[in-house]
């Protein structure tokens, strides 16, 4: 294995496999299992067309996750920028060749598979930012000029995703990136300053930059209830489904809102609603509990790492995962505008599943290589 450096030779593949946190894998499989069950129900009690394909993807994705976990963390470090740039290229390619799905350009055909680069970039951005910050000193981070490069790294994908247009994902990428800035130690006042600047920019941008149709679009985006037959209808039906589920739900395969098609997108964005309708608050809280468990696991894996790159990657993956979960569930409960966001591991969807498992692969990699110390310069090939 050329990927394994000499000094780590004692870490054979077998040992590494042993090192993998299998209980975490089991937890992930459990959540995916909930997804299979819900997709089975969404198809009216059949594995086709969603559940079976989701299982296959999860199988492939899990293997990839293990493989990613076994790759030396320094290799990830070394190729972080290249991977990031590659994903940016894909994202830019969407602009040119991407096909339109659900009213926005999101997909790109790689010949054998359709991928959604905006999903992939969520993880690759974490790698890139972690690589940038892994060797920084506390004083470095306090300098504004030092932050210009990572800011550019963050703004590029956000801009490209916005162009698709996919406001939801763009904001999610932005927030994930900002979280990494925060974890990297950027001073709190900078966040406050940028926050204030952003808020004060809203009015002039609204008044002088945006065109009427753009404003209109933004307004519907932010307040779907103003469009009661469109997005507002979906949220209302989702709330009805949730509420009518009650404490223990209507039973597996017995959700009337879902099965009579009152609930839109029940196999993708609104799958949590379906779960909560059929299994009630108990089922909903159960799934949220499983997610929390993943988050806490991720937290401890990140803290346990003896290298800063690993910590940042670990917490970055946790952050991306958390925002995905939170935005989706808050959205179906009517707490956030509907922005087209799948529920991690559960919603039907190939790229999201594979990307997430890629992320968890990195998290596991961090755990497997938790005792690897990485000194500055490692990224350039000097171990």
């Amino acid at each position: 294995m050329s990927l394994i450096p000499d000094r780590q030779r004692e870490n054979t593949i077998g040992r590494k496999l042993w090192q993998i946190n299998w209980s975490f894998v089991l937890l992930v499989a459990l959540i995916a299992g909930v997804g299979f069950a819900m997709l089975y129900s969404a198809a009216g009690g059949q594995f086709d067309p969603w559940s079976s394909r989701q299982m296959a993807r999860f199988g492939v994705g899990t293997v990839a996750m293990i493989v990613f976990a076994l790759i030396d963390i320094r290799t990830w470090l070394r190729y972080a920028y290249i991977i990031y740039l590659a994903s940016l290229v894909l994202l830019a390619a969407v602009e040119v060749t991407g096909s339109v799905g659900m009213g926005a350009q999101r997909w790109i055909n790689l010949g054998f598979i359709n991928v959604q680069p905006s999903e992939i970039v969520k993880i690759t951005l974490i790698l890139a930012l972690a690589r940038y910050f892994y060797a920084c000193r506390v004083e470095d981070v306090e300098r504004m000029t030092y932050l210009l490069v990572p800011a550019a790294m963050l703004v590029a994908p956000v801009y490209l995703v916005l162009r698709q247009p996919d406001l939801g994902t763009a904001i999610l990428i932005l927030v994930t990136g900002i979280t990494i800035f925060f974890l990297a130690g950027v001073r709190a006042w900078i966040f406050v300053a940028f926050g204030l600047a952003a808020i004060s920019a809203i009015v002039p941008v609204w008044k002088f930059v945006l065109l009427d149709y753009q404003k209109q679009r933004l307004l519907t985006y932010l307040n779907p209830e103003s469009d009661p037959l469109g997005a507002g209808y979906h949220v209302m039906q989702s709330k009805i489904a949730l509420g009518s589920g009650g404490l223990f739900g209507k039973g597996f395969l017995a959700g009337t809102q879902s099965h009579l098609s009152f609930l839109p997108e029940k196999h993708t964005d609104f799958i949590f609603t379906m779960l909560a309708e059929e299994f009630g608050m108990a089922g909903g809280l159960g799934l949220v509990g499983l997610y929390l468990l993943v988050l806490v696991y991720g937290f401890f894996i990140a803290l346990r790492s003896r290298n800063h790159f690993g910590r940042l990657v670990g917490m970055g993956v946790v952050a991306a995962f958390f925002y995905n979960v939170f935005v989706n569930i808050a959205m179906v409960m009517g707490l956030l505008p509907v922005v087209g966001m799948p529920l991690p591991l559960v919603s039907y969807g190939g790229t999201a599943m594979v990307t997430l498992l890629f992320g968890f692969g990195l998290l596991l990699c961090v755990f497997v290589h938790r005792d690897v110390a990485i000194s500055p310069g490692t990224a350039d090939g000097n171990y």
Binding site: V138, S244, T256, L260, G284, L285, L295, M333
Partner: protein, 630 residues
Amino acid sequence: MHRDSDRYRMFSRRAAIFLGGQVLLLSGLGARMYYLQVVEADRYRTLADDNRINLKLLAPPRGLIVDRFGRSLADNRQNYRLILTPENITDLDKTLDRLAAIIPIGPNERQRIAREIKRRRRFNPIIIRENLEWKKVARIEVNAPDLAGIGIDVGESRYYPGGAAMAPILGYVSAVSEKERTGDPLLELPGFRIGKAGIEKTQDLALRGAAGTSQVEVNAFGREIRELQRIEGQPGAEARLTIDYELQRMTAARLGDKAASAVVMDIHTGEILAMASTPSFDSNAFKRGFSRAEWRDLISNPRAPLNNKAVVGQYAPGSTFKMIVALAALEKGVITPQSRFFCKGEMELGDSTFHCWKRTGHGSMDLMNGITQSCDVYFYEVAGRTGIDRISAMARRFGLGARLGIELPGEKNGLMPTRKWKKRTKGVSWQQGETVLAGIGQGFLLTTPLQLAVMISRLANGGRAVEPSILRQLVPFGVPEPEPRELHQFPEIDVNKNHLRIVGRAMARVTNSPIGTAYRARIKNPEFRMAGKTGTVQVRRISKAEREQGVRKNSELEWRDRDHALFVGYGPVRAPRYAVSVVVEHGGGGSSTAAPIARDILTEAQRRDPSRGRAAYLGRRRQPAGADEG
């Protein structure tokens, strides 16, 4: 490593803050879940059920209408409807083109179909045509493979076996108009029909029945998934009429295409055995709808085919009123049966001259002859002595001048004028000349053929205030055969029985004495002998000039200027049972036109004897009027 430990502390602190934030936000989600799924659960459960459960009304079958012997007068037949389901159609124009080869579809109809498709959900069928003939149904079924989205469904539609003969009584049903909506959801069912005339209208609520409901589960697009619960409706009650369908048919046929009406009534029970009004319309025609031209013809026809003339038509009673005048005079005592007046063919009163129908005059007349020969001058004299108020009061006792409350819509009051009435409505005093005219049933007086039938019944039944009815019984669905409605004894009219007998005898002579005005229309069969009275009502003013040149004959006049021909009668004379009234609008003379019709109807009524077995004792118990006529 010191630097790293600083950084590690910072990182772990911030990571912990971040984790704390995550836990907080997820708890927020949990709280929201609690709010939606526990606090507000009931509300959302109701909303979810509202979403998925549609309550559908099931139209109950309309109640049947049968005649007194149980023969069907109105029932429900299968109605083959051509329906189009938009969601199954790929090319509307092409499909309609193909369909047009079987059933003509005009450009207007195409537009209507296109409009309806736009208005409704794509899986809701649209009715293209109703009451398809079986042949068309078969052709469409054969061509089904080429007509995707076109189908046949079977509904119910009202069928009237009696057609035009029964239409004035039964009326018809048709679609509910905007104004008729009462909020009853049943009325909003597509294709639901309610009674618009006749018995169908007056008994509509009973015939309608109660709607059933079907709870169906629907999906978000309104497509029905399954039926959850079904409560069958209650079919409408069966309306049993007093009509004898055979007699009705014969009566209507006898009137033919004249603008006429006839009522046959049981003088004891008040049951209407036949009530014909011609020309008529076909109730069945209403289900296919009329073209604009057809409808215009129907409503603007001067012979008023849509009216039931027996209850809506108002005519001066003419000479048929003379019995009432006689009774009023006898009661007041201004004449005795033996009082005589001389008829010289006319009578002067002030500046006016009142003519008798017999220009040469009848000579000396007593009451018996006055009625038998229908002498006008005799009754001018009598009426003048009796006074209008007494005449009108007597008329009212015999059922004239006020609605009788028959179970049919639009019944008219008629008019029996009094001095007060004239003062009140016209503002001028009553003239003696008007009383004189009232003596021969003309002037302000108005009666309906039904009232005339009641009048003659009360004259024939010995002075009982019989009231007419056409609805024998309403039998709710599912009820075991009910007891027949009890016949109640109608109260006596306060009138001298002797006077009634005298008048009855006179009426028997009208038809049976060679000098009687209706002798030629007598019933020769001694068992069925008829008594009656003719009436000829002038509808135009005959000018002095015309009188001098010679009054034109009816046959020389325009239809609308001819006299109305009336006849009231009953039979058999020995034990009266059936009364008949006939009014032929602009028919000419009562004796020449109305009396023969009445004879034929009354003969048929007695031959059929539809009241047989029905409380015959009521009639036999009393001394029948005119029984002692020789």
